[in-house]
Symmetry: C2
Subunit: 236 residues, 2 copies
DNA sequence: CGATCGATGATTGCATACAGTATTCTGCAT
DNA sequence: ATGCAGAATACTGTATGCAATCATCGATCG
Protein backbone atom coordinates (compact mmCIF):
# COMPACT_ATOMS: atom_id res chain seq x y z
CA UNK A 1 0.00 0.00 0.00
CA UNK A 2 2.08 2.94 -1.19
CA UNK A 3 -0.95 5.18 -1.01
CA UNK A 4 -2.13 7.63 1.68
CA UNK A 5 0.16 10.28 0.26
CA UNK A 6 0.62 13.77 1.54
CA UNK A 7 -2.13 13.65 4.13
CA UNK A 8 -1.53 16.92 5.89
CA UNK A 9 -4.66 16.84 8.01
CA UNK A 10 -4.25 16.43 11.74
CA UNK A 11 -6.40 13.87 13.52
CA UNK A 12 -8.18 11.16 11.55
CA UNK A 13 -10.18 13.74 9.61
CA UNK A 14 -12.51 16.54 10.50
CA UNK A 15 -15.24 14.56 12.20
CA UNK A 16 -18.62 16.21 12.30
CA UNK A 17 -18.85 17.20 15.96
CA UNK A 18 -21.85 15.55 17.62
CA UNK A 19 -24.44 18.11 18.53
CA UNK A 20 -24.64 16.95 22.16
CA UNK A 21 -20.94 17.70 22.53
CA UNK A 22 -21.39 21.22 21.19
CA UNK A 23 -24.30 21.72 23.57
CA UNK A 24 -22.23 20.41 26.48
CA UNK A 25 -19.40 22.80 25.69
CA UNK A 26 -21.78 25.70 25.24
CA UNK A 27 -23.52 25.09 28.55
CA UNK A 28 -20.30 24.67 30.54
CA UNK A 29 -19.10 27.92 29.06
CA UNK A 30 -22.36 29.63 30.01
CA UNK A 31 -22.07 28.30 33.55
CA UNK A 32 -18.43 29.26 33.97
CA UNK A 33 -18.83 32.78 32.67
CA UNK A 34 -21.87 33.30 34.85
CA UNK A 35 -24.58 33.61 32.22
CA UNK A 36 -26.29 30.75 34.00
CA UNK A 37 -26.25 31.42 37.71
CA UNK A 38 -26.07 28.87 40.53
CA UNK A 39 -29.48 27.55 41.49
CA UNK A 40 -31.04 28.67 38.24
CA UNK A 41 -33.62 26.34 36.76
CA UNK A 42 -32.57 25.13 33.33
CA UNK A 43 -35.69 24.61 31.25
CA UNK A 44 -34.99 22.21 28.43
CA UNK A 45 -37.31 23.84 25.95
CA UNK A 46 -35.78 27.26 26.56
CA UNK A 47 -32.23 25.99 26.14
CA UNK A 48 -33.27 24.14 23.01
CA UNK A 49 -34.68 27.27 21.46
CA UNK A 50 -31.74 29.35 22.66
CA UNK A 51 -29.23 27.04 21.00
CA UNK A 52 -31.38 26.25 18.01
CA UNK A 53 -31.62 22.51 18.57
CA UNK A 54 -34.22 20.10 19.82
CA UNK A 55 -34.61 18.90 23.40
CA UNK A 56 -32.90 15.57 22.74
CA UNK A 57 -29.28 16.81 22.55
CA UNK A 58 -30.03 19.12 25.46
CA UNK A 59 -31.07 16.22 27.64
CA UNK A 60 -28.00 14.19 26.76
CA UNK A 61 -25.75 17.12 27.53
CA UNK A 62 -27.52 17.64 30.86
CA UNK A 63 -26.81 14.04 31.78
CA UNK A 64 -23.09 14.63 31.31
CA UNK A 65 -23.22 17.96 33.12
CA UNK A 66 -24.83 16.16 36.03
CA UNK A 67 -22.17 13.48 36.38
CA UNK A 68 -19.50 16.15 35.99
CA UNK A 69 -21.01 18.05 38.91
CA UNK A 70 -22.09 21.16 37.06
CA UNK A 71 -25.83 20.75 37.47
CA UNK A 72 -28.15 19.00 39.88
CA UNK A 73 -30.80 16.80 38.29
CA UNK A 74 -33.94 16.53 40.39
CA UNK A 75 -36.33 13.86 39.08
CA UNK A 76 -39.50 15.25 37.57
CA UNK A 77 -38.27 18.76 38.26
CA UNK A 78 -35.47 19.24 35.82
CA UNK A 79 -31.95 20.58 35.94
CA UNK A 80 -30.57 23.28 38.19
CA UNK A 81 -27.16 24.90 38.04
CA UNK A 82 -25.18 23.51 40.92
CA UNK A 83 -24.71 25.77 43.94
CA UNK A 84 -21.37 24.97 45.55
CA UNK A 85 -21.13 25.26 49.30
CA UNK A 86 -18.02 26.43 51.11
CA UNK A 87 -17.58 22.92 52.50
CA UNK A 88 -17.65 21.48 49.03
CA UNK A 89 -15.08 23.98 47.80
CA UNK A 90 -12.81 23.18 50.67
CA UNK A 91 -13.13 19.52 49.82
CA UNK A 92 -12.46 20.16 46.15
CA UNK A 93 -9.29 22.05 47.03
CA UNK A 94 -8.24 19.25 49.32
CA UNK A 95 -8.74 16.53 46.73
CA UNK A 96 -7.10 18.59 44.03
CA UNK A 97 -4.04 19.05 46.19
CA UNK A 98 -3.89 15.34 46.83
CA UNK A 99 -4.14 14.40 43.16
CA UNK A 100 -1.73 17.04 41.92
CA UNK A 101 0.84 16.12 44.52
CA UNK A 102 0.74 12.58 43.28
CA UNK A 103 0.90 13.59 39.64
CA UNK A 104 4.03 15.65 40.35
CA UNK A 105 5.66 12.65 41.93
CA UNK A 106 4.87 10.38 38.99
CA UNK A 107 5.86 13.05 36.51
CA UNK A 108 9.30 13.16 38.08
CA UNK A 109 9.58 9.41 37.52
CA UNK A 110 8.61 9.48 33.86
CA UNK A 111 9.54 12.82 32.35
CA UNK A 112 11.93 12.80 29.39
CA UNK A 113 14.12 15.75 28.37
CA UNK A 114 11.62 16.85 25.68
CA UNK A 115 8.88 16.72 28.30
CA UNK A 116 10.88 18.97 30.58
CA UNK A 117 11.62 21.34 27.72
CA UNK A 118 7.91 21.62 27.11
CA UNK A 119 7.37 22.43 30.80
CA UNK A 120 9.90 25.25 30.67
CA UNK A 121 8.14 26.51 27.58
CA UNK A 122 4.84 26.68 29.43
CA UNK A 123 6.60 28.25 32.40
CA UNK A 124 7.98 31.03 30.21
CA UNK A 125 4.53 31.58 28.73
CA UNK A 126 3.15 31.97 32.22
CA UNK A 127 5.81 34.44 33.29
CA UNK A 128 5.20 36.44 30.15
CA UNK A 129 1.47 36.52 30.83
CA UNK A 130 2.27 37.59 34.37
CA UNK A 131 4.36 40.49 33.09
CA UNK A 132 1.57 41.71 30.81
CA UNK A 133 -0.92 41.48 33.66
CA UNK A 134 -3.56 39.71 31.59
CA UNK A 135 -5.47 37.93 34.33
CA UNK A 136 -7.23 35.56 31.99
CA UNK A 137 -4.00 34.57 30.27
CA UNK A 138 -2.36 33.92 33.62
CA UNK A 139 -5.10 31.61 34.76
CA UNK A 140 -4.97 29.78 31.46
CA UNK A 141 -1.19 29.42 31.51
CA UNK A 142 -1.40 28.07 35.03
CA UNK A 143 -3.96 25.49 33.97
CA UNK A 144 -1.81 24.52 31.00
CA UNK A 145 1.26 23.97 33.12
CA UNK A 146 -0.51 21.91 35.74
CA UNK A 147 -2.34 20.01 33.03
CA UNK A 148 0.90 19.08 31.33
CA UNK A 149 2.36 17.82 34.59
CA UNK A 150 -0.63 15.53 34.97
CA UNK A 151 0.03 14.28 31.45
CA UNK A 152 3.63 13.53 32.35
CA UNK A 153 2.45 11.40 35.23
CA UNK A 154 1.53 8.89 32.53
CA UNK A 155 -1.58 8.06 34.50
CA UNK A 156 -4.69 8.35 32.39
CA UNK A 157 -6.97 8.06 35.41
CA UNK A 158 -5.26 10.95 37.15
CA UNK A 159 -5.25 12.98 33.96
CA UNK A 160 -8.97 12.40 33.69
CA UNK A 161 -9.87 13.19 37.28
CA UNK A 162 -7.77 16.28 37.89
CA UNK A 163 -9.19 18.56 35.21
CA UNK A 164 -12.72 17.85 36.38
CA UNK A 165 -11.89 18.84 39.92
CA UNK A 166 -9.72 21.71 38.82
CA UNK A 167 -12.29 23.30 36.54
CA UNK A 168 -14.89 23.31 39.27
CA UNK A 169 -12.47 24.90 41.71
CA UNK A 170 -11.53 27.62 39.28
CA UNK A 171 -15.18 28.24 38.43
CA UNK A 172 -16.15 28.82 42.02
CA UNK A 173 -13.20 30.99 42.94
CA UNK A 174 -13.11 32.89 39.69
CA UNK A 175 -15.24 35.85 40.87
CA UNK A 176 -13.22 36.49 44.00
CA UNK A 177 -9.73 35.11 43.62
CA UNK A 178 -7.01 37.18 42.07
CA UNK A 179 -4.16 35.21 40.58
CA UNK A 180 -1.38 34.57 43.06
CA UNK A 181 1.24 36.11 40.84
CA UNK A 182 5.01 35.88 41.13
CA UNK A 183 5.18 33.49 44.08
CA UNK A 184 3.24 30.79 42.29
CA UNK A 185 5.51 30.89 39.27
CA UNK A 186 8.65 30.78 41.37
CA UNK A 187 7.28 27.63 42.95
CA UNK A 188 6.51 26.26 39.51
CA UNK A 189 10.13 26.69 38.53
CA UNK A 190 11.29 24.71 41.55
CA UNK A 191 8.86 21.92 40.75
CA UNK A 192 9.96 21.72 37.14
CA UNK A 193 13.53 21.56 38.30
CA UNK A 194 12.75 18.63 40.57
CA UNK A 195 10.97 16.86 37.73
CA UNK A 196 13.90 17.51 35.41
CA UNK A 197 16.26 15.92 37.93
CA UNK A 198 13.97 12.91 38.29
CA UNK A 199 13.53 13.46 42.01
CA UNK A 200 10.05 12.15 42.92
CA UNK A 201 10.29 12.91 46.62
CA UNK A 202 11.31 16.50 46.07
CA UNK A 203 8.75 17.09 43.33
CA UNK A 204 6.05 15.69 45.58
CA UNK A 205 7.05 17.85 48.52
CA UNK A 206 7.30 21.01 46.43
CA UNK A 207 3.93 20.41 44.84
CA UNK A 208 2.46 19.77 48.27
CA UNK A 209 3.69 23.15 49.45
CA UNK A 210 2.57 24.81 46.25
CA UNK A 211 -1.01 23.54 46.45
CA UNK A 212 -1.04 24.36 50.14
CA UNK A 213 -0.02 27.93 49.44
CA UNK A 214 -2.57 28.23 46.69
CA UNK A 215 -5.30 26.90 48.95
CA UNK A 216 -4.32 29.26 51.74
CA UNK A 217 -4.42 32.14 49.32
CA UNK A 218 -7.87 31.21 48.10
CA UNK A 219 -9.16 30.76 51.62
CA UNK A 220 -7.94 34.21 52.60
CA UNK A 221 -9.82 35.67 49.66
CA UNK A 222 -12.95 33.80 50.68
CA UNK A 223 -12.62 34.81 54.29
CA UNK A 224 -12.21 38.44 53.27
CA UNK A 225 -15.48 38.27 51.37
CA UNK A 226 -17.62 36.09 53.58
CA UNK A 227 -15.95 36.82 56.89
CA UNK A 228 -16.36 33.13 57.48
CA UNK A 229 -14.63 30.57 59.60
CA UNK A 230 -11.79 28.21 58.81
CA UNK A 231 -12.09 26.84 55.31
CA UNK A 232 -8.86 24.96 55.13
CA UNK A 233 -10.67 21.81 56.14
CA UNK A 234 -8.66 18.65 55.96
CA UNK A 235 -5.51 19.68 54.24
CA UNK A 236 -2.52 17.72 55.43
CA UNK B 1 -59.03 13.68 53.99
CA UNK B 2 -58.92 10.88 56.53
CA UNK B 3 -56.89 8.81 54.13
CA UNK B 4 -53.14 8.22 53.83
CA UNK B 5 -53.08 6.68 57.27
CA UNK B 6 -50.17 4.83 58.77
CA UNK B 7 -47.59 6.03 56.25
CA UNK B 8 -44.66 3.81 57.05
CA UNK B 9 -42.54 4.87 54.11
CA UNK B 10 -39.16 6.49 54.79
CA UNK B 11 -37.95 9.46 52.82
CA UNK B 12 -40.28 12.12 51.40
CA UNK B 13 -42.46 9.46 49.81
CA UNK B 14 -41.92 6.64 47.40
CA UNK B 15 -40.65 8.53 44.40
CA UNK B 16 -41.18 6.86 41.07
CA UNK B 17 -37.66 5.88 40.07
CA UNK B 18 -36.71 7.49 36.75
CA UNK B 19 -36.47 4.93 34.04
CA UNK B 20 -33.01 6.04 32.97
CA UNK B 21 -31.74 5.24 36.44
CA UNK B 22 -33.18 1.74 36.31
CA UNK B 23 -31.62 1.24 32.91
CA UNK B 24 -28.26 2.52 34.18
CA UNK B 25 -28.33 0.12 37.10
CA UNK B 26 -29.39 -2.76 34.90
CA UNK B 27 -26.61 -2.17 32.39
CA UNK B 28 -23.86 -1.77 35.00
CA UNK B 29 -25.03 -5.02 36.53
CA UNK B 30 -24.93 -6.73 33.14
CA UNK B 31 -21.42 -5.42 32.51
CA UNK B 32 -20.12 -6.39 35.94
CA UNK B 33 -21.49 -9.90 35.89
CA UNK B 34 -20.14 -10.44 32.40
CA UNK B 35 -23.36 -10.71 30.42
CA UNK B 36 -22.04 -7.86 28.33
CA UNK B 37 -18.42 -8.55 27.43
CA UNK B 38 -15.66 -5.98 26.91
CA UNK B 39 -15.58 -4.68 23.37
CA UNK B 40 -19.11 -5.77 22.68
CA UNK B 41 -21.20 -3.44 20.55
CA UNK B 42 -24.25 -2.21 22.42
CA UNK B 43 -27.06 -1.66 19.94
CA UNK B 44 -29.61 0.76 21.32
CA UNK B 45 -32.61 -0.89 19.71
CA UNK B 46 -31.65 -4.31 21.05
CA UNK B 47 -31.15 -3.04 24.57
CA UNK B 48 -34.44 -1.17 24.38
CA UNK B 49 -36.31 -4.31 23.42
CA UNK B 50 -34.41 -6.40 25.95
CA UNK B 51 -35.35 -4.08 28.82
CA UNK B 52 -38.81 -3.26 27.50
CA UNK B 53 -38.30 0.48 27.14
CA UNK B 54 -37.76 2.89 24.28
CA UNK B 55 -34.40 4.04 22.97
CA UNK B 56 -34.57 7.37 24.78
CA UNK B 57 -33.82 6.16 28.34
CA UNK B 58 -31.24 3.82 26.87
CA UNK B 59 -29.38 6.70 25.30
CA UNK B 60 -29.42 8.75 28.50
CA UNK B 61 -28.12 5.82 30.49
CA UNK B 62 -25.35 5.28 27.94
CA UNK B 63 -24.24 8.87 28.41
CA UNK B 64 -23.79 8.29 32.11
CA UNK B 65 -22.10 4.95 31.53
CA UNK B 66 -19.68 6.73 29.24
CA UNK B 67 -18.65 9.42 31.72
CA UNK B 68 -18.36 6.75 34.42
CA UNK B 69 -15.94 4.83 32.22
CA UNK B 70 -18.02 1.72 31.64
CA UNK B 71 -18.55 2.14 27.92
CA UNK B 72 -16.78 3.88 25.07
CA UNK B 73 -18.97 6.09 22.91
CA UNK B 74 -17.76 6.38 19.33
CA UNK B 75 -19.66 9.04 17.40
CA UNK B 76 -21.94 7.67 14.72
CA UNK B 77 -20.95 4.16 15.68
CA UNK B 78 -22.56 3.65 19.02
CA UNK B 79 -21.56 2.32 22.39
CA UNK B 80 -19.03 -0.40 23.12
CA UNK B 81 -18.33 -2.02 26.47
CA UNK B 82 -15.04 -0.61 27.68
CA UNK B 83 -12.02 -2.89 27.44
CA UNK B 84 -9.64 -2.10 30.30
CA UNK B 85 -5.96 -2.46 29.65
CA UNK B 86 -3.49 -3.66 32.24
CA UNK B 87 -1.97 -0.19 32.37
CA UNK B 88 -5.33 1.33 33.11
CA UNK B 89 -5.97 -1.18 35.89
CA UNK B 90 -2.63 -0.45 37.44
CA UNK B 91 -3.48 3.22 37.37
CA UNK B 92 -6.91 2.62 38.85
CA UNK B 93 -5.36 0.67 41.70
CA UNK B 94 -2.85 3.42 42.24
CA UNK B 95 -5.44 6.19 42.39
CA UNK B 96 -7.73 4.14 44.56
CA UNK B 97 -4.96 3.58 47.05
CA UNK B 98 -4.24 7.29 47.12
CA UNK B 99 -7.85 8.28 47.71
CA UNK B 100 -8.58 5.60 50.28
CA UNK B 101 -5.47 6.43 52.23
CA UNK B 102 -6.63 9.98 52.48
CA UNK B 103 -10.17 9.02 53.42
CA UNK B 104 -8.83 6.88 56.27
CA UNK B 105 -6.89 9.84 57.59
CA UNK B 106 -9.88 12.15 57.50
CA UNK B 107 -12.14 9.48 58.95
CA UNK B 108 -9.87 9.28 61.98
CA UNK B 109 -10.28 13.02 62.43
CA UNK B 110 -14.05 13.02 62.28
CA UNK B 111 -15.40 9.70 63.47
CA UNK B 112 -17.76 9.71 66.44
CA UNK B 113 -18.34 6.72 68.72
CA UNK B 114 -21.52 5.71 66.86
CA UNK B 115 -19.57 5.85 63.61
CA UNK B 116 -16.96 3.54 65.03
CA UNK B 117 -19.63 1.19 66.30
CA UNK B 118 -21.03 0.99 62.81
CA UNK B 119 -17.58 0.17 61.47
CA UNK B 120 -17.20 -2.71 63.91
CA UNK B 121 -20.61 -3.91 62.85
CA UNK B 122 -19.52 -4.01 59.22
CA UNK B 123 -16.27 -5.65 60.27
CA UNK B 124 -18.17 -8.44 62.04
CA UNK B 125 -20.36 -8.91 58.97
CA UNK B 126 -17.25 -9.31 56.86
CA UNK B 127 -15.69 -11.85 59.18
CA UNK B 128 -18.92 -13.80 59.21
CA UNK B 129 -19.03 -13.80 55.43
CA UNK B 130 -15.43 -14.93 55.42
CA UNK B 131 -16.30 -17.86 57.68
CA UNK B 132 -19.12 -18.99 55.42
CA UNK B 133 -16.86 -18.75 52.39
CA UNK B 134 -19.40 -16.88 50.28
CA UNK B 135 -17.10 -15.04 47.88
CA UNK B 136 -19.72 -12.60 46.68
CA UNK B 137 -20.73 -11.70 50.24
CA UNK B 138 -17.08 -11.14 51.15
CA UNK B 139 -16.50 -8.77 48.28
CA UNK B 140 -19.67 -6.91 49.14
CA UNK B 141 -18.82 -6.65 52.81
CA UNK B 142 -15.40 -5.31 51.89
CA UNK B 143 -16.95 -2.66 49.67
CA UNK B 144 -19.39 -1.73 52.43
CA UNK B 145 -16.65 -1.26 54.99
CA UNK B 146 -14.44 0.79 52.72
CA UNK B 147 -17.46 2.77 51.58
CA UNK B 148 -18.39 3.66 55.12
CA UNK B 149 -14.88 4.83 55.87
CA UNK B 150 -15.11 7.19 52.91
CA UNK B 151 -18.39 8.47 54.35
CA UNK B 152 -16.72 9.12 57.68
CA UNK B 153 -14.10 11.23 55.95
CA UNK B 154 -16.90 13.81 55.70
CA UNK B 155 -15.63 14.69 52.26
CA UNK B 156 -18.38 14.47 49.66
CA UNK B 157 -15.94 14.81 46.80
CA UNK B 158 -13.90 11.86 48.02
CA UNK B 159 -17.04 9.86 48.68
CA UNK B 160 -18.10 10.56 45.14
CA UNK B 161 -14.82 9.71 43.45
CA UNK B 162 -13.82 6.58 45.31
CA UNK B 163 -16.79 4.35 44.48
CA UNK B 164 -16.41 5.11 40.79
CA UNK B 165 -12.79 4.06 40.82
CA UNK B 166 -13.40 1.18 43.16
CA UNK B 167 -16.22 -0.39 41.18
CA UNK B 168 -14.17 -0.41 38.02
CA UNK B 169 -11.25 -2.05 39.80
CA UNK B 170 -13.42 -4.76 41.27
CA UNK B 171 -15.10 -5.38 37.94
CA UNK B 172 -11.86 -6.05 36.14
CA UNK B 173 -10.28 -8.19 38.79
CA UNK B 174 -13.43 -10.08 39.67
CA UNK B 175 -12.77 -13.03 37.35
CA UNK B 176 -9.25 -13.68 38.56
CA UNK B 177 -8.85 -12.34 42.05
CA UNK B 178 -9.82 -14.55 44.91
CA UNK B 179 -10.72 -12.66 48.03
CA UNK B 180 -7.67 -12.03 50.13
CA UNK B 181 -9.25 -13.60 53.14
CA UNK B 182 -8.22 -13.37 56.74
CA UNK B 183 -5.27 -11.02 56.27
CA UNK B 184 -7.39 -8.25 54.80
CA UNK B 185 -9.85 -8.37 57.67
CA UNK B 186 -7.13 -8.35 60.26
CA UNK B 187 -5.82 -5.20 58.64
CA UNK B 188 -9.32 -3.76 58.66
CA UNK B 189 -9.51 -4.27 62.40
CA UNK B 190 -6.28 -2.34 62.92
CA UNK B 191 -7.54 0.52 60.78
CA UNK B 192 -10.83 0.72 62.63
CA UNK B 193 -8.90 0.79 65.88
CA UNK B 194 -6.80 3.70 64.68
CA UNK B 195 -9.93 5.56 63.60
CA UNK B 196 -11.56 4.84 66.95
CA UNK B 197 -8.57 6.35 68.74
CA UNK B 198 -8.69 9.38 66.47
CA UNK B 199 -5.14 8.83 65.24
CA UNK B 200 -4.97 10.20 61.68
CA UNK B 201 -1.31 9.40 61.10
CA UNK B 202 -1.70 5.79 62.14
CA UNK B 203 -4.94 5.29 60.21
CA UNK B 204 -3.30 6.73 57.12
CA UNK B 205 -0.25 4.51 57.40
CA UNK B 206 -2.29 1.39 58.05
CA UNK B 207 -4.57 2.07 55.10
CA UNK B 208 -1.53 2.69 52.94
CA UNK B 209 -0.17 -0.73 53.84
CA UNK B 210 -3.56 -2.32 53.39
CA UNK B 211 -4.12 -0.99 49.89
CA UNK B 212 -0.53 -1.85 49.05
CA UNK B 213 -1.05 -5.43 50.13
CA UNK B 214 -4.30 -5.66 48.23
CA UNK B 215 -2.66 -4.31 45.10
CA UNK B 216 0.23 -6.72 45.42
CA UNK B 217 -2.17 -9.59 45.79
CA UNK B 218 -4.12 -8.57 42.72
CA UNK B 219 -0.98 -8.12 40.70
CA UNK B 220 0.22 -11.58 41.61
CA UNK B 221 -3.06 -13.00 40.41
CA UNK B 222 -2.74 -11.09 37.17
CA UNK B 223 0.85 -12.12 36.67
CA UNK B 224 -0.07 -15.74 37.25
CA UNK B 225 -2.68 -15.54 34.50
CA UNK B 226 -0.97 -13.38 31.92
CA UNK B 227 2.61 -14.11 32.83
CA UNK B 228 3.13 -10.41 32.35
CA UNK B 229 5.62 -7.94 33.65
CA UNK B 230 5.51 -5.62 36.61
CA UNK B 231 2.07 -4.15 37.08
CA UNK B 232 2.62 -2.35 40.33
CA UNK B 233 3.24 0.80 38.41
CA UNK B 234 3.56 3.95 40.44
CA UNK B 235 2.55 2.89 43.88
CA UNK B 236 4.46 4.70 46.59
C1' DC C 1 -6.90 -13.51 -8.75
C1' DG C 2 -6.87 -9.23 -6.18
C1' DA C 3 -8.53 -4.65 -5.60
C1' DT C 4 -11.61 -0.89 -6.04
C1' DC C 5 -16.16 0.89 -6.47
C1' DG C 6 -20.98 0.90 -5.71
C1' DA C 7 -25.33 -0.78 -3.66
C1' DT C 8 -27.82 -2.35 0.37
C1' DG C 9 -28.90 -2.97 5.07
C1' DA C 10 -28.32 -1.66 9.69
C1' DT C 11 -27.67 1.84 13.24
C1' DT C 12 -27.10 6.22 15.11
C1' DG C 13 -28.41 11.23 15.48
C1' DC C 14 -31.92 14.36 15.72
C1' DA C 15 -36.62 16.05 15.80
C1' DT C 16 -41.35 15.76 17.10
C1' DA C 17 -45.46 14.15 19.60
C1' DC C 18 -47.86 12.45 23.61
C1' DA C 19 -48.58 11.30 28.51
C1' DG C 20 -47.64 11.93 33.46
C1' DT C 21 -46.49 14.91 37.23
C1' DA C 22 -45.19 18.95 39.90
C1' DT C 23 -46.14 23.84 40.45
C1' DT C 24 -48.87 27.80 40.49
C1' DC C 25 -52.79 30.49 40.32
C1' DT C 26 -57.46 31.40 41.44
C1' DG C 27 -61.56 31.18 44.01
C1' DC C 28 -63.98 30.19 48.11
C1' DA C 29 -64.81 29.24 52.82
C1' DT C 30 -63.32 30.14 57.41
C1' DA D 1 -56.87 38.34 56.07
C1' DT D 2 -55.75 33.44 55.88
C1' DG D 3 -55.82 28.76 54.71
C1' DC D 4 -57.35 25.22 51.72
C1' DA D 5 -59.27 23.07 47.53
C1' DG D 6 -59.42 22.69 42.77
C1' DA D 7 -58.24 23.54 38.14
C1' DA D 8 -55.12 25.39 34.79
C1' DT D 9 -50.41 25.58 33.35
C1' DA D 10 -45.81 24.34 32.49
C1' DC D 11 -42.41 21.18 32.46
C1' DT D 12 -40.33 16.72 32.45
C1' DG D 13 -40.39 11.72 31.11
C1' DT D 14 -41.11 8.61 27.48
C1' DA D 15 -42.18 6.94 22.91
C1' DT D 16 -42.03 7.09 17.96
C1' DG D 17 -40.57 8.61 13.26
C1' DC D 18 -37.38 10.19 9.81
C1' DA D 19 -33.00 11.54 7.74
C1' DA D 20 -27.97 10.98 7.73
C1' DT D 21 -24.13 8.06 8.30
C1' DC D 22 -21.47 3.94 8.64
C1' DA D 23 -20.41 -0.99 7.88
C1' DT D 24 -20.91 -4.95 4.95
C1' DC D 25 -21.28 -7.41 0.91
C1' DG D 26 -21.20 -8.18 -3.94
C1' DA D 27 -20.00 -6.87 -8.63
C1' DT D 28 -16.90 -5.08 -11.92
C1' DC D 29 -12.46 -3.93 -13.66
C1' DG D 30 -7.48 -4.18 -13.98
Amino acid sequence: MPATPAVTARGPITRPVPLRQAVYDALTELIINGSLKPGQHLVEADLAEELGVSRQPIREALQRLHTAGWVDLRPSQGAFVHSPTTEECSQLLSVRALLETRSARDAARHATPPDVARLWELQRAGVTALATGDARAIVEANADLHGHITLLSRNAVLAELIPQVDRRVRWYYMPIAKPRGQDAWNEHALIIDAIAHGDPDLAEELMRRHTRNTTDFYCEQIAAVTGSADLRGDLP
